[in-house]
């Protein structure tokens, strides 16, 4: 369905209403990610998200389409922010509509796990000692790898 890469905060209620439409399919799963006030090592006061616009658009479309194919989604949407974000602001929102809960939940998980490692966004945290680029996490790579065995060659 659609992707939005935007500077503005995500209006979760409005996104949900648009995803579901007037007559919902049987199962709807969504995920919302927010800016935390800390990382593993220090307090975080602000987050800056850099991105590669043309590639990010293509990657998010492709992974949404993959999730839709794999789990038979009737509707899906991915929204990702860029720019300067304050603590507790929304970063990302994904939604998946399917006939059964398993498909809707798994599709949301696939979209998030793949997005974390494959979509060209980079976080830079403002902490007590200045700006720090966030390093890629092993747990994200592991979660991504779970879906790799199911990918077509």
């Amino acid at each position: 369905m659609t992707v939005s890469i935007q500077r503005e905060p995500i209006d979760v209620a409005s996104e949900y209403a648009q995803l579901v439409g007037p007559q919902p399919d049987a199962a709807v799963a969504t995920f919302t990610g927010y800016v935390r006030d800390h990382s593993d090592a220090h307090a975080v006061s602000q987050l800056e998200l850099e991105h590669y616009p043309e590639m990010a658009q293509k990657v998010l479309m492709a992974l949404g389409e993959r999730a839709a194919d794999q789990f038979g989604l009737s509707r899906w949407r991915i929204v990702h922010r860029y720019g300067l974000l304050d603590v507790a602001e929304t970063i990302v929102w994904v939604g998946a509509v399917a006939e059964h809960r398993g498909e809707a939940i798994s599709a949301s998980e696939l979209m998030m796990d793949t997005l974390k490692t494959d979509a060209p966004f980079w976080k830079r945290e403002q902490g007590p000692d200045g700006h720090v680029w966030v390093a890629s996490k092993a747990v994200d790579q592991h979660r991504r790898a779970r879906w790799r065995s199911e990918e077509k060659a």
């Binding site: 850099e50 590669y52 293509k58 490692t117 060209p120 980079w122 976080k123 966030v134 890629s136």
Partner: protein
């Protein structure tokens, strides 16, 4: 042969450039991403170090590729560290 190079995140910051045109004079029928990296590494120690970091990601025309991918005139080649969105 001219291509567009793009740098993101810490690479952009360390190297002080985000986008530039780059010509490969040693025109070969099969110029690879590795050859472009090696040519750019001649620009100095900071380039050499940044482009040879172990987890560097290469994207050719918006798709992640290995260093043996072949680059053609007009292509867009981007270098960046592992992605950390979401």
């Amino acid at each position: 042969m001219g291509i567009t190079i793009k740098l993101f995140s810490s690479l952009r910051e360390v190297l002080g450039e985000s986008e530039f045109e780059f010509s490969l004079t040693e025109l070969d029928s099969a110029v690879t991403v590795a050859a472009v990296k090696s040519a750019l590494s001649q620009r100095g120690a900071s380039w050499q170090e940044a482009l040879n970091q172990p987890n560097l990601v290469h994207a050719l025309n918006h798709k992640v590729v290995y260093t043996d991918a072949v680059v053609a005139a007009g292509d867009e080649l981007a270098f960046f560290p592992p992605m950390t969105g979401g």
